[in-house]
């Protein structure tokens, strides 16, 4: 291959820069580490290899912000050296671990995490119990949910360990022909708390009726008189 066979396009130049960067990295490594690096890179899919090389470019870029170079290095390390079949854990930090740590330092969240975990366990038991009582097979459920039987099998396996999204709860409830609250009792509570949070948000766009009510005067109504409460005397 000669230089004249390479198209002179921005994509080619970018690819050559990446390859050059990759070679620079490898040249700077100790041989044992280089072998490990190349081995890990070769085991990755093409898509991940491209991601790795793009992270190398950022990590070596002196113009990039230091925190971005660090992030790129972290991402590169994750891509090459953390694989689900090499450790006891899945890739990334599981939600349960993240919540457990946060709940330890925040008592209000601790209570919520415990509630969610117990709801999660209840949800998993309920789905199986309802399937049994209605004599629904995984295939039956798959057809009702518009997915494959293996997807349902994996969903059921993961149920005790994962937090389902709201739409999954609704979809399962519809497929099982039960109200969503029968699967996740606190669903309505969660939705109402969301409504209260939205009520407090700024920049709500009033309806015409709300604007009229705000503009009107209510002087004729009988009203409760304002009266402050004292603070409780110390004992």
């Amino acid at each position: 291959m000669t230089d004249t066979m390479l198209p002179d396009t921005p994509q080619t130049m970018a690819r050559l820069d990446s390859v050059s960067c990759l070679l620079d990295w490898m040249r700077d490594m100790e041989p044992a580490l280089r072998r490990q690096f190349v081995g890990a890179l070769m085991e990755c899919s093409d898509s991940i290899q491209q991601a790795v090389v793009s992270m190398m470019v950022i990590a070596k870029d002196q113009q990039a912000a230091p925190q971005d170079r660090q992030r790129a290095l972290t991402t590169l390390a994750d891509a090459l050296f953390l694989r689900p079949d090499e450790t006891d854990k899945d890739y990334g930090q599981p939600l349960a671990e993240s919540e457990t740590y946060t709940a330890k330092i925040n008592p209000a969240l601790n209570r919520e995490v415990r509630t969610m975990n117990s709801q999660q366990e209840f949800f998993a038991r309920q789905v199986r119990a309802i399937m049994d009582s209605k004599r629904l097979s995984q295939q039956d459920l798959a057809v009702r949910m518009g997915c494959t039987q293996p997807a349902i099998s994996q969903l059921l396996d993961r149920l005790p360990h994962c937090r389902p999204q709201k739409r999954t709860i609704h979809k399962l409830a519809e497929a099982l022909a039960v109200p969503p609250q029968e699967l996740w009792p606190d669903l309505e509570t969660a939705e109402m708390l969301d409504a209260v949070a939205r009520f407090q948000q700024d920049d709500y766009a009033m309806t015409v009726a709300e604007a009229a009510a705000l503009s009107a005067s209510g002087k004729s109504k009988v009203k409760l008189k304002p009266k402050p409460l004292p603070t409780r005397p110390r004992r």
Partner: protein, 184 residues
């Protein structure tokens, strides 16, 4: 200050330590009651406090927690073509332990009335610093109630709140409004 046995006291809630006093707080078993207790027992109350909401625990002289109340402000936008913002006062949440519903028997000392009178007083104090006649400040107090919570709706109406027609949302809540202008 009176020493009447049914006098309620308002204690500000500002931290998780205050929250421990509400262990066992329960607003009833209806489907619209769960979130009223959950709001004060979980982290939503602190999210609200971070927005500037003030929260009080209402208790008897013996320290029995009867209920809680909250007061904050928000800004709404007038409908187009105006679109300008106006501030108004809101009661994000208000709850009473179901053991104290309808208590005490003496109407002039009814706990719910004492709690609401306190919130209206605080709201009136807040808007006293707002300029009159300025569209950027709306001297109204607004709260949010579930359409099935008939007990609460009747109580708010007796206090002087009026429902805003057509304000019901997808969660089944609608808004009620109290005019603060007369009370100054």
């Amino acid at each position: 200050m009176t020493n009447h046995p049914h006098q309620l006291y308002a204690t500000p809630l500002t931290s998780e330590a205050d929250q421990t006093r509400l262990v066992g707080f329960n607003c009833g078993t209806e489907h619209f009651a769960g979130h009223v207790a959950e709001w004060i027992l979980g982290s939503d109350v602190f999210d609200s406090i971070k927005r500037g909401t003030r929260v009080w625990i209402f208790e008897t002289v013996a320290g029995h927690v009867v209920g809680y109340g909250s007061l904050g402000t928000t800004r709404w936008k007038w409908p187009l073509p105006d679109g300008q913002r106006t501030s108004l006062v809101i009661i994000p949440m208000l709850g009473m332990d179901s053991r104290y519903f309808g208590q005490p028997p003496e109407p002039e000392w009814r706990y719910a009335n004492q709690m609401m009178a306190h919130l209206i007083h605080e709201a009136t104090r807040l808007v006293s610093e707002w300029p009159r006649g300025d569209k950027k400040y709306c001297r109204k107090l607004v709260l949010f109630v579930h359409r099935d919570n008939r007990r609460a709706i009747r109580f708010y109406e007796r206090c002087g709140f009026e429902a805003i027609s057509g304000s019901i949302d997808e969660s089944g809540h609608f808004k009620m409004l109290y005019d603060l202008d007369d009370d100054e």
